[in-house]
């Protein structure tokens, strides 16, 4: 996984609550094996009900074609567990999502893919949202994981806290499986003990 220390770029505003994964990455024209994830990002939201391009939708505006940061509302990424809803963000260059709150699975999927999930204090969120709307893609923002802060174009900084474990994973770009396999012998020992104590747990298929 790519290491994350800091990212600087355009911050896109989508100030809405409960944006779900069906909106972020619709199954659209049906599921496929080799998907171009940038194409499915907000596929339906990009269109008006009559099928024409919704030029008011944030990701259709030219200044927000390649944002680095997304700023959004409460319960972001609720709905299904599809990881494509994070891959689609990453596919257009988003490395940090600042939300009022995240749905649990979505937040986890962000961490798995080197995307930094940030929540700020309510007061800071309001100020940041206003700054991002005001900047309108013209001036860059920085998400600085090392110092745990978001920095606006005027130098104003909003600090956030990430649990140390999550921060370490992102900063070191750790391979999650490798990290777990360091406890391989503990896994072996657990299996041995349980197959004696609760044999039904270690046998799924009874013939």
């Amino acid at each position: 996984m790519e290491k994350f220390t800091s990212v600087t770029g355009v911050a896109a505003p989508l100030i809405e609550d409960d944006v779900n994964t069906d909106q972020i990455a619709p199954v659209g024209g049906g599921p496929r094996l080799n998907q171009n994830y940038s194409e499915i990002l907000f596929l339906n939201r990009r269109k008006r009900p009559d099928g024409s391009v919704d030029t008011d939708f944030v990701f259709n505006k030219p200044q927000f074609a390649r944002p680095s940061i997304l700023v959004t509302g409460r319960n972001f990424g609720c709905g299904s567990s599809r990881e494509s809803a994070v891959w689609a963000m990453a596919a257009i260059g988003i490395r940090c999502i600042v939300a009022r709150s995240f749905a649990d699975i979505y937040r986890e999927n962000c961490l798995q893919n080197g995307v930094l999930p940030v929540t700020l204090s309510v007061a800071d969120t309001e100020v940041l949202e206003a700054r991002v709307l005001e900047a309108n893609g013209a001036t860059p923002f920085t998400a600085d994981l090392e110092n745990q802060r978001i920095v606006g174009p005027d130098g104003s900084a909003f600090s956030f806290e990430l649990p140390p474990a999550d921060r370490m994973r992102l900063m070191e770009g750790l391979d999650d499986i490798g990290l777990s396999l360091k406890l391989d012998s503990e896994i072996d020992a657990w299996e041995k003990r349980i197959s004696i104590e609760m044999p039904w747990m270690q046998r799924a298929f009874q013939n």
Binding site: E16, D17, D18, N20, D22, Q23, P26, V27, G30, P31, R32, L33, N44, P49, R74, N75, C78, G79, S80, S81, R82, E83, V86, S101, A103, D104, I105, E108, N109, Q112, N113, P163, P164, A165, D166, M168, R169, L174, D176, I177, L179, S180, L181, K182, L183, D184, E186, I187, W190, E191, I194, M198, P199, W200, M201, Q202, R203, A204, F205, Q206
Partner: protein, 469 residues
Amino acid sequence: MPRTLFDKIWEAHSVGTRVDGRVLLYMDRHVLHELHAPHAFRKLQAANRPVRRPDLTFSAMDHTASSLPLAQQTPNAQTQAIVDAMREGSRRNGIRIFDIGDPEHGISHVVAPELGMVLPGATHAVPDSHACTVGGLGALAFGVGTTELEHILATQVLALARPKRMRIRLDGTLGPQVESKDVALRILSQIGVAGGRGHILEFSGPVARALSIEGRMTLCNLSIEMGSRSGMIAPDDATFNWIAGRPWAPQGAMWDEAIAYWRTLPTDDDAVFDKEVVVECTGLEPQITWGTDPAQVVGISGRVPDFSSVDTSKRAALEKSLAYMGLAAGDMIEGLPVQRVFIGSCTNARLPDLEVAANILRGRKIAPGVKALVVPGSAKVKRDAEAKGLDRVFRDAGFVWGETACSMCAGANGDRGEPGDRVLSTTNRNFENRQGPGVRTHLVGAALAAAAAVTGRITDVRKLVAGGA
């Protein structure tokens, strides 16, 4: 220290703590499906990593499976590629597959319990957010992403930060034609789509205890809609009786040992939860969603709420929801014309759900112009329903009797409505465009769905049954 059901399962499955502070939680069972597993197979192969426990891993084929009769199913190049990759990856890794046409075919969350694969006190993972369904048996289940799926294949553990615990006590008794689904929708309207975030739910109280095991699974199925990754109901004699004799359930002396352990699982009397909610269920009407979020719920006699007092920052989203649904504040829900009815999904397509609907449809016909589809949750549900003659009841009423699949729940197999259709659906998500572009989904239980099919309108099933609708 008094402990909750969740604490007991969590602690029994904690293998160790990783350097980053995450706990490795052992997964007793892992069920894959074709939408996500092929990616993980590909990545594992590239990293040259074997599947650690193919004997505890199973492959379902549910999301893209067709609901057409087997003989009429024609391959579609796009989904065929996924299905082929699933078969190939499962075979290469020695994973048993419940393939289309097999006796164990079906929606993974329906198949795993009915086989006796999921057991009380066990952990369960599926790369699908409705893994929580099996919490109805007192199992701790996790819906996982694709990277987590790959992680479990390689290690058989999931790396987690310990979640908090929330109890939802369901008081009172349920009236006639009021189902588990109505209770779940009522909870949603009370706590909202983020109410359970960061918590594992435990449903308790007299209503939870009185539910059938299938009803418990329906309730737990909607935990994810409540914002929680998982929800459970403590196992009791009803659970043990339901599992006894299932093909993969432990037998003989091992069964007795298992039951003795399962009896230790329920939450201790003085255990403390991080959050407690009480929901009063006496007097509850059948419930229905009016909007595009599963917490936008009213009773069947209710009206679309008026938002004039809601603060402006939230009003825009509510109005957008209404515009999509073709409704206005103050509209009566009852009486709205319906174009389609879908009875199916991991929420409401087990045998008792089909029986509820069939009891309403028996001797009745669906209204002209309504398209009605029923898709059993598994091949076993289908067989059991056919043995009881339910297929005839549905067909005689004018329903299409489908092959098991996820079908119109997410439409990944092509079963979708037409733009503008108002659909009464026993599924779990009423998001915009989920059942097809422009399709207006109202989530309901099986009774309301059947009643609407008969009258062609959203109908209070209690009146229909009493002869008044």
